[in-house]
């Protein structure tokens, strides 16, 4: 306790902080150049050791991009590495092309392989992605050892690399500079993606894919593109590796793919420095341990097991948990203020919400088809899961624009399935869904989100390692253009800082408007269930949708918070948003909703004005049990 109190709080002005950051990056850059100079002038033994490690560091960084951030365990990276290395070696030897022309060529070749592999395998599950990429590496290995052009098992000697001439010759080995420069490129690209809002989107795809899709992220496209990028970087590593002595099939066997994964895990998945540290450790390990090679392999294999079992978050995980033990300030403070501030905050936030999102120009764009138009029409929706019985049997539903439409019914009556059909997670067997006059039942969820259609999930699906604010920012993804394409050089891009601040401000405002301001900086992993529901609500409405589906948004909320959510939903409706609300708290539903539909065993029992439905004897029978 005392350490928390005694800890001094330094306040640094933003301009000063930016200046300090620039100074920090500048000195890091100078240190990197100095280290490179040392390697380039160093002994051949040192060069061999460091440059091989650098090539693997590029591979590990690019692998972490797919495995750590996106959750795609590629076992194809040795194959992609081989594509870059062998292409460079063979084309140089056979046709004598300039080696610097071969760099982009190697990257493109590896990227094309990655694109093909990704497009083919990501239509099935993550496990099949691992298997298919594994088979790719096997096939590349077979081609390398059996074709005449690749030199068979013996491999091929490296093309020669030009040296510095004249004044530059004091710099030492040009090859060392080139390889280290390639590593720097990989470092900048991965660092930039980690800094950009795209990183949160990748994490959302990894941990909460339905959430990402509902936020308008075309997850399959993003997955294929990120794997293609990773493949291109690995191709660059292969190009650099081609100049380090010779290439032979053994250097690119399938076990090398697993070694790369080990590098990432040993260093720390989804961290910036982890893959580099892991690559340095794994590739220099054999040289540093001068024992019998068989025993060396035994130790090596044992390390695989021990690290994954005991330190699954790797070296960086150990470091960060040590760091947290030394300075346990941030999460504790945030949680405490969250707990104590929640009750007082709600009332003050209510006023704030009035002036935040709903009064601006956005209101105009939302009132699309007029207050008395029809927002959603479902006709004859029929659906069953797999071979099971039909969950929905010819459901008709009409939701008028600018109203709150309640959807109630006993457990298992098909409410959430209906929500999934309307929002695009599932496709109906029969029947149509029309939103604002457009037939959407064949559109994927992400497309519907882009048509102003957002939703929350019954059990909160969020990224648990990100803060509430960052999760909500994922919901705003569709409204800021080019996050994906700009992420490669995000910090350098003009307007990036402005867009990042816009995202952050929008997310803050959205959290405040639902009464969750106190949790803004808290990680979702540390949230109570109710706050997670509020965060989902904030993430769904931050992008100013025209239609909103809420699947049991009140689960786990206190009475006070329930009241507040009621007010939020009313003010959303008054600004023109159509809301479909699935909820079990009947009193809340009938007090809030304009119209109510009652489902029972996959059929509509009653639908209409809330007061009429409430009086319907059949509804009382099936649902209220009165």
């Amino acid at each position: 306790m005392s350490s928390i109190v005694l800890r001094a709080q330094f306040w640094v002005s933003p301009t000063r902080r930016a200046w300090l950051a620039r100074l920090g990056y500048g000195s890091l850059g100078v240190a990197y150049l100095a280290a490179t100079f040392g390697v380039a002038r160093g002994s051949l033994y040192l060069q061999g050791l460091v440059l091989v490690a650098a090539c693997f560091a590029i591979c590990a960084l690019s692998l972490d991009l797919v495995a750590g951030s996106t959750g795609l365990y590629s076992l194809g990276h040795a194959g992609l590495f081989a594509v870059g290395a062998y292409m460079t070696t063979i084309i140089q030897a056979q046709m004598g092309w300039n080696i610097f022309v071969l760099l982009p060529l190697s990257m493109v070749a590896a990227a094309v392989c990655g694109l093909g592999l990704g497009a083919l395998s990501l239509r099935v599950s993550g496990l099949y992605f691992a298997i298919l990429t594994f088979v790719f590496t096997l096939v590349v290995g077979v081609l390398l050892s059996d074709l005449a052009i690749t030199g068979g098992y013996a491999g091929l000697p490296s093309p020669s690399f030009p040296n510095f001439r004249g004044a530059l010759s004091g710099l030492g080995s040009a090859l060392a500079w080139t390889v280290m420069l390639a590593l720097l490129v990989a470092i900048v690209v991965t660092w930039s993606i980690r800094k950009s809002p795209m990183h949160r989107v990748l994490l959302a795809i990894r941990d909460a894919e339905p959430f990402a899709e509902a936020a308008g992220v075309r997850t399959r496209v993003v997955k294929v593109m990120i794997f293609t990028l990773s493949a291109a970087l690995t191709g660059m590593a292969g190009w650099a590796f081609a100049f380090l002595g010779f290439v032979s099939p053994g250097q690119f066997s399938w076990s090398v793919s697993v070694n790369m994964l080990v590098m990432v895990i040993v260093g720390g998945m989804n961290t910036f420095l982890g893959p580099i540290i892991g690559a340095a450790f794994v590739s220099m390990f054999p040289a540093s341990l001068s024992i019998d090679p068989l025993w060396q392999e035994v130790v090596f294999g044992a390390i695989f097991v021990v690290v994954v079992v005991f330190w699954p978050r790797g070296f960086m995980g150990v470091v960060s948990s040590l760091g947290r033990r030394l300075a346990p300030v941030q999460p504790v403070q945030a949680l405490r203020s969250g707990a104590s501030g929640a009750s007082g905050e709600v009332s003050s936030v209510r006023e704030e919400s009035a002036l935040s999102l709903y009064n601006g120009k956005c209101v105009v764009s939302r009132v699309g088809s007029g207050p008395h138009g029809v927002a959603v029409i479902c006709r004859g929706l029929t659906f069953h899961y797999g071979k099971g019985p039909a969950v929905l049997k010819g459901v008709d539903l009409t939701v008028r624009a600018g109203t709150i439409h309640g959807l109630i019914g006993p457990n298992g009556s098909g409410k959430s399935t209906l929500a999934d059909l309307i929002s695009g997670r599932l496709r109906p067997d029969k029947g149509t869904v029309e939103v604002n006059g457009v037939r959407v039942e064949q559109l994927p969820a992400a497309e519907r989100a882009r048509h102003g259609f957002m939703r929350t999930f019954q059990s909160a699906t969020l990224v648990s390692e990100l803060s509430c604010k960052d999760n909500v920012a994922v919901g705003y993804y569709g409204r800021v253009g080019g996050i994906g394409s700009r992420s490669l050089v995000w910090p350098l891009w003009p307007g990036a800082q402005r867009d990042a601040e816009l995202l952050s401000a929008r997310a803050r405002a959205a959290l405040a408007s639902v009464g969750a301001a106190a949790w803004t900086e808290v990680r979702v992993a540390d949230l109570p269930h109710g706050a997670a529901q509020l965060t989902q609500l904030a993430a769904a409405q931050v992008s100013e949708p025209r239609t909103l589906i809420l699947d049991e948004p009140l689960t786990g909320l206190s009475v006070r918070e329930v009241d507040h959510v009621g007010n939020v939903l009313r003010s959303l409706r008054d600004s023109g948003v159509t809301i479909i609300l699935i909820e079990h708290q009947v009193r809340f539903v009938f007090a809030l909703c304009d119209e109510v539909t009652v489902l029972s065993a996959g059929e509509v029992v009653a639908s209409g004005e809330a007061s009429q439905v409430h009086g319907d004897p059949r509804v009382r029978e099936v649902y209220l049990g009165v």
Partner: protein, 300 residues
């Protein structure tokens, strides 16, 4: 060519047994055990060492199979259980099972030396004639044993309560343990069965390959390729996949050239995966065939 077909079937049964081991472990735990090939190697090495120490060859082989089964259980306890316990959907087992494979292979090389050693002959190396082909009794035994094991396994899976509980564990371990299934015992048993299958494959192939600590790599990969052709969770399909692979290997050698078995099966597996990524015997292909049959019947 006919002889290549028959010997291909025999060889394919060995691949098939390894692939079946992969499939049994995967079916229950959703883990592909990359040390599966090394289990075969352990059986071969132990049997060879025991036989050269003067044990009767049948006892030596039983010892080999038992060691492979024990090594399977050990793999699960050391490398799979801890990973799945912390996160059921983690892919950490990709790395840990491979680590176990590396350790097994090199420890075997340290104990028994990296070179090949003799393996006891079975059935005195006699052979029979089937049509124009000469087939050793050893190979006929391999086919018989493989199909006997498959039938026993399928009977056990479908008829016994343990088999049904294993399927429940495969579907949803949390739910299965909630209704009283001991998931730990079931999962260990799956790895023991996987080890048994690999061990039996080992003593069947030992007389042909001799005992070598690096056998695991070759047979592990071949078994994996057979598994990929069939679909990862189809033990019966895996055996058929193995037979298919064995026949393809031998016929490619005869028809294309003597090196073709090194690459031809990979071409086939890539084509298979492109057309049906979940394998030949997966649900999607079966339902597609059913659709074809229905439309044919409809037309007729």
């Amino acid at each position: 060519m006919f002889e290549a077909l028959v010997t291909g079937i025999a060889l394919g049964c060995i691949y098939g047994l390894v692939a079946m081991g992969f499939a049994v472990a995967f079916l229950v735990t959703r883990v592909i055990n990359f040390a599966q090939g090394q289990l075969l190697m352990i059986s071969v090495m132990v049997a060879a060492a025991a036989a050269s120490a003067g044990w009767p060859s049948v006892v030596a082989m039983l010892a080999g199979v038992a060691c492979a089964a024990a090594a399977g259980a050990l793999t699960y306890v050391v490398a799979v259980r801890p990973v799945l316990a912390s996160d059921r959907f983690s892919f950490g087992w990709l790395v840990t099972t491979l680590g176990v494979a590396v350790v097994m292979e090199n420890v075997a090389a340290i104990i028994w030396g990296p070179t090949s050693r003799a393996f006891p002959l079975m059935l005195n190396g006699t052979s029979a004639h089937i049509g124009s082909a000469t087939v050793s009794w050893q190979q006929i035994l391999a086919v018989l044993v493989a199909f006997a094991l498959l039938s026993a396994f399928e009977l056990f899976r479908r008829r016994s309560i343990y088999g049904k509980v294993s399927m429940a564990v495969a579907q949803d371990p949390e739910m299965a343990s909630a209704v009283g299934a001991n998931t730990m015992v079931i999962s260990v048993s799956a790895f023991v069965v996987a080890g048994l299958l690999a061990g039996v494959a080992g003593v069947l192939v030992g007389p042909i390959t001799y005992a070598n600590p690096y056998l695991g790599d070759t047979y592990g990969i071949d078994g994996f390729v057979a598994l990929m052709m069939a679909g990862a969770d189809q033990p019966a399909g895996a055996l058929v996949g193995g037979v298919l692979l064995g026949v393809l290997n031998n016929e490619a050698n005869v028809i294309i050239n003597s090196q073709a078995s090194a690459w031809f099966p990979f071409v086939v597996v890539v084509l298979v995966l492109l057309v049906c990524p979940r394998g030949l015997f997966s649900g999607e292909v079966r339902s597609w065939l059913r659709g074809v049959r229905r439309s044919l019947v409809g037309v007729g």
